[in-house]
Assembly symmetry: C2
Homo-oligomer: 78 residues x 2
């Protein structure tokens, strides 16, 4: 089973990487970009029996820093 | 308009970050993880008139390294 974990910085947390991307897009001539936030996407291929609680525990213990980051879990059949 | 860009390594490209996450999950006692791939999620807040071609150009010119990475664009209304 595939699961995708989206890890994003919480609102209000400073995002230097996003700021740098925003600046670089401006330099390339892409106007009209109001904001950029950089996050992580982690694709897991786990055993079919893996429970939602297990996936949640993986996020809390390792994949996301819950002090400054939010995470969302999306499960796919294939 | 919000747009989310998912940048993932192409299949076959070595992913040391994913390998490290895989190993760490094993160390935490999470068995049954077959594979981990690490990617990037970039959330853009762009002007409403931004065309798909512009978003595509941003990905090709800056956000993704198309030699080793794939990207996918997802547009959201809000």
């Amino acid at each position: 089973m595939k699961a995708r974990i989206f890890v994003t910085l919480k609102p209000g947390v400073l995002d230097p990487q996003g700021r740098a991307i925003h600046h670089a897009l401006g330099g390339l001539g892409f106007d009209g970009v109001n904001d950029v936030r950089a996050g992580k996407l982690i694709e897991l291929d786990v055993a079919d029996g893996t429970s939602d609680a297990d996936l949640d525990a993986m996020c809390r213990k390792l994949l996301a820093n819950t002090v400054i980051e939010n995470y969302r879990i999306e499960k796919a059949a294939a």
